[in-house]
């Protein structure tokens, strides 16, 4: 029963991935700008432009271009960068690991700190520390990534001089961008955890757990937290697209050589194959994240597991 559920859910991924591919393909072709013009410069003659467009296959009808792109994709070929003239997969390969390192670190930070602050906030409801956490959470939720990044640079890089502010390098270089990306998520998760915990702590089974003589730690970390986490699990994966989105800005601010900064450059250069590939990858990861959210749900909540 459980296997069937997973297989069924897996097949339901194909449609959204297809839609993502169509969108990532067509959106870019809808915005004005011409890669041929970008490559050849302002003084190219119309003939030269037409010839290059023909060479790149850009004069074919859109659906033909789409199908040929998909056929190549099926063979694992992302195409060739119009600007750099190297295979897109080469360009992305080096960048992907940087982006994953950044988003992964931010994700882990978000959950460790988010849940901890949420629990503290819920168990010390209406205390000074609860209000403090709430205020900070609202603040960090509201701040844009670029501003947060610049402020962290200013404080820890320039004023205190304890952390590097730009480029890749050691793990120290990861700290500021990871917190820039992670802080708003810490805030969101802390708020969600607090709300869910408060809700769960009112439940009858919590009274039962206390009436059994269990110590607070067991009541809170076993009986309450497990139930409070159920609604949070979806968010655990649904936030992944936000992280990728935030990574685009954060990587640019910190000159972090990930996919985000590559994407920004490619968009400005109208480098269609690169943009399409990155959007498709991020889109697919998002769809997979949703899939994982569904699966984790069934693992943590036996009631959904049984419904199959």
């Amino acid at each position: 029963m459980k296997k069937q559920l997973i297989i069924r859910k897996f097949f339901s991924l194909l449609l959204p991935i297809f839609v993502v591919s169509v969108f990532s393909f067509s959106l870019l072709h809808l915005i004005p700008g011409d890669p041929a013009r970008y490559i050849l410069g302002d003084f190219a003659t119309p003939q030269q432009l037409a010839q290059l467009r023909h060479q790149l296959g850009l004069d074919r009808p859109l659906y033909v271009q789409y199908i040929s792109w998909m056929v190549k994709l099926a063979h694992g070929d992302f195409g060739t960068s119009l600007v750099a003239n190297v295979p897109v997969s080469e360009l992305i390969k080096g960048r992907l690991s940087f982006t994953l390192k950044l988003t992964g670190t931010a994700w882990i930070l978000a959950w460790i700190f988010g849940i901890s602050f949420g629990i503290i906030s819920a168990t010390k409801k209406h205390s000074l520390i609860d209000y403090g956490i709430t205020t900070l959470a609202v603040f960090f939720m509201s701040m844009p990534y670029f501003w947060l990044g610049l402020m962290l640079m200013l404080i820890f890089g320039v004023k205190l001089g304890i952390l590097p502010i730009s480029g890749p390098g050691t793990w120290k270089n990861l700290i500021l961008p990871a917190f820039t990306l992670g802080l708003p998520q810490i805030a969101v998760i802390a708020r969600l955890t607090r709300a869910n915990m408060l809700d769960v702590l009112e439940k009858d089974y919590i009274t039962t757990a206390k009436a059994k003589g269990l110590p607070d730690t067991l009541v809170i970390y076993k009986h309450a937290l497990r139930n409070a986490m159920i609604p949070l699990i979806t968010y655990m994966f649904l936030q992944i697209p936000w992280l990728f989105g935030g990574a685009v800005v954060t990587e640019t601010v910190f000159a972090w050589p990930g996919m985000g900064s590559l994407l920004i450059t490619a968009i400005f250069q109208r480098d269609y194959p690169v943009v399409q590939a990155i959007v498709l990858i991020i889109g697919t990861l998002t769809v997979i994240a949703n899939f994982l959210a569904d699966i984790t749900y069934t693992i943590i909540d036996p009631r959904i597991r049984a419904m199959g």
């Binding site: 439940k203 009858d204 009436a211 059994k212 003589g213 009986h223 497990r226 943590i300 036996p302 009631r303």
Partner: protein, 324 residues
């Protein structure tokens, strides 16, 4: 019979946004070893508040005054760590709604196992075998696979049996059953009640049964304490309460009961309504609805006194002046 639990002059107030709710107003009550004492009263009269006060599980907005003496110790003065050793081990508790009182995400055996681990209960075999054995005692069929089930896979009656089995695992001296059958349908109610009677006989467990169902009381209680609006108005052996109720409230309550056979008279209802506990009436809280009330009843709260052997009543109109 010794006294296992003695509640002395207990007051419980709840701080709410609309003011102070004076939920329990000077309750004094004794529970004797080995008996089933039924605490009966309308919804909202403070029955459950008393049970939660005994377990010290009242919410933070509650202030508790008075004494709750269990086996010589005042529970209200125990440090939290000592109290935890009493909860579950010495005093077990069963709740009203079996559908919500078990944790939905853990198996039955996982939740029962905690009792053994926390209270370091002695086991002859493995903990799992002990759990299966307990489930068999409460007559759960196919106990081994039920132990591995999640609560949502069991019916309401089954879940209440699981609660009973869980609270039984430590063989507590006192079992507080807070409306244990209210959420169940009638046939299941009878089964759970019989189960509790059996346990009382086999394990000599003292039971404090909280209910608003006089039928349940008649079936299993030895003594009955009647509550009205946060006060105890009458305490008597079960037969006395039904045959010879003395307090005006108990009397009108009994007249409001269907007797199970056709009678000439219509069922009576008690005139007026339950007072708002934000602004309870002074003195005897029943006086606004009492046909016999006079100035004395509005002045001070009547003391509860023994008017016949074992029969206690809190009323100025009962006792010395009863036959006037």
């Amino acid at each position: 019979m010794g006294v296992i639990l003695k509640i002395e002059d207990l007051y419980v107030d709840f701080k709410t946004e609309r003011g102070l709710v004076k939920a329990i107003d000077g309750v004094t009550l004794e529970v004797k070893e080995g008996e089933v004492l039924a605490l009966i009263g309308e919804t909202g009269c403070g029955k459950s508040t008393i049970s939660k006060a005994i377990m010290r599980l009242l919410p933070k907005n509650a202030t508790v005054r008075g004494k709750i003496i269990y086996k010589g110790k005042n529970l209200l003065e125990l440090p939290e760590s000592e109290m935890r050793k009493i909860r579950g081990k010495e005093i077990g508790m069963i709740f009203q709604d079996p559908l919500t009182s078990l944790n939905p995400v853990f198996t039955v055996s996982n939740q029962m196992e905690e009792m053994f681990k926390i209270h370091k209960l002695p086991t002859r075999k493995s903990i799992f075998e002990e759990i299966v054995n307990l489930l068999k005692i409460v007559r759960i069929p196919d106990a081994e696979s039920r132990a591995k089930s999640y609560p949502f896979e069991l019916s309401g009656g089954m879940r209440q049996r699981v609660m009973v089995a869980m609270m039984l695992s430590s063989n507590p001296s006192l079992l507080i059953a807070d409306e244990p059958t209210t959420a169940l349908d009638v046939t299941i109610q009878a089964q759970i009640m019989n189960l509790m009677l059996e346990l009382k006989r086999n394990f000599n467990t003292t039971i404090l049964l909280i209910t608003h169902n006089p039928g349940v009381v008649a079936e299993i209680a030895d003594r009955v304490a009647v509550m009205y609006a946060g006060q105890i108005v009458e305490v008597a052996p079960v037969k006395e309460v039904f045959d010879n109720p003395l307090h005006p409230y108990t009397r009108s309550l009994m007249r409001a009961l269907p007797k199970g056979h056709k009678t000439e008279r219509e069922l009576e209802n008690i005139l007026g309504r339950v007072p708002n506990l934000l602004t309870p009436p002074p003195g005897c809280r029943f006086h606004p609805r009492c046909p016999f009330a006079d100035e004395r009843c509005t002045g001070g709260k009547p003391e509860i006194k023994e008017v016949e052997p074992g029969h206690f009543v809190a009323c100025y109109k009962v006792g010395g002046t009863r036959n006037e």
